[in-house]
Symmetry: C2
Subunit: 234 residues, 2 copies
Amino acid sequence: MQQYFGIKKDENVLYLNSEDLNHIKNVMRMKENDKVIISFKGISYLVTLNSSLLSGTIDNIYKSERDTNQVIAYIPILPEEKMSFIIQKGTELGVTEFIPVEFERNKYKLDKTGKEKKLNRWNKIAKEASEQSHRVNKSEVKEIIKVKEITSLNGVNILCSLDNENVKEINEVLTIDNACDKITLVFGPEGGITQNEEKTIESLGFTKTRLVKNVLRSETVIIFLVSIINYLRK
Amino acid sequence: MQQYFGIKKDENVLYLNSEDLNHIKNVMRMKENDKVIISFKGISYLVTLNSSLLSGTIDNIYKSERDTNQVIAYIPILPEEKMSFIIQKGTELGVTEFIPVEFERNKYKLDKTGKEKKLNRWNKIAKEASEQSHRVNKSEVKEIIKVKEITSLNGVNILCSLDNENVKEINEVLTIDNACDKITLVFGPEGGITQNEEKTIESLGFTKTRLVKNVLRSETVIIFLVSIINYLRK
């Protein structure tokens, strides 16, 4: 069943925004009394659409479990095709927050207007992927930040590394016992992070971790790691 | 460093095919005495290119570990974009063999010429992804088969299911202890497999297994599962 995120709840009526109305009308071709899922503040409801199609009446709760796990991914700025891929698949697999980082070796630089445009686009992908995978909460893409603004949390903090030395193996760092509710991941750009950036990120509380023996593309690494976290948490 | 798969070995000289020559010359713009990795019969060599660029002299062995793990994935026939995605990412993450299956609910049907064309294209993607991720052996896409031709092996045999009942959980079926060297996976089409197909596949020795709570796209499920296998085998 199609899911949307509501913008307002008024007793047993939930409201959608006009973009969703367009989708309901022109893409899904739905009509009054059709059923959709509407998520609002961490709860998903089964809803019967009203005649305006901009609102619906709650039938019952569809999914009330509040997903409190946080998976925060600091990611490089990659070509659009790869960004869409990371945000779409990452959201499906459980990333709650993406934070693009201005790494020195990012090949793609954005000016202020470019950043705003991209951020809108990326958040649209995040919203659609959240709906498509029936997530109770939307994943979000935050403002682009500098390396020194990366923040570790009280949980598992991983810096994905291509090195073979002075690294921990992924299955030492991530185990069923420590698959805690806050995981923060830092992924570098295609050319790797610089030594300075590495020092900064390590000093911020991240553990350098090696993922797999084979050479993976940047976007594959992200999906790989998020899949494992998803598996360990089941 | 760029990797290719050799087609012939003659004492300490390795030979490439003309398509690779084109890549070496016109894409990589390499010259005589440049170094490449050439894999041949399960061994990767560091090689110095000869003047023709069609062959190279072996300097030493680059990677000799023979990857004996088999990950066989029976996959539905999906739109080309998703097929490329599955074959590229699946290869990077360790799938050794893809076998497309004619499921009843496949939306994409191919005639004989279409099948041949696609198979060539898919194998090209598999070869490039194998080279890119420095795999010693090329992954392969086999001929399209019928459901009743699916074969389980003496290892872990998983039928990925969307059901909530009568299924095993993925972390019961796949554990570090049983991450054996032969894993066979069956993924159904976007509309799911029919009850008859399910019966057939179960009778062939596959265990119905549920993957994650969230709804995943067909192509995401595949990458998710292959990532976990890769992780458990480290």
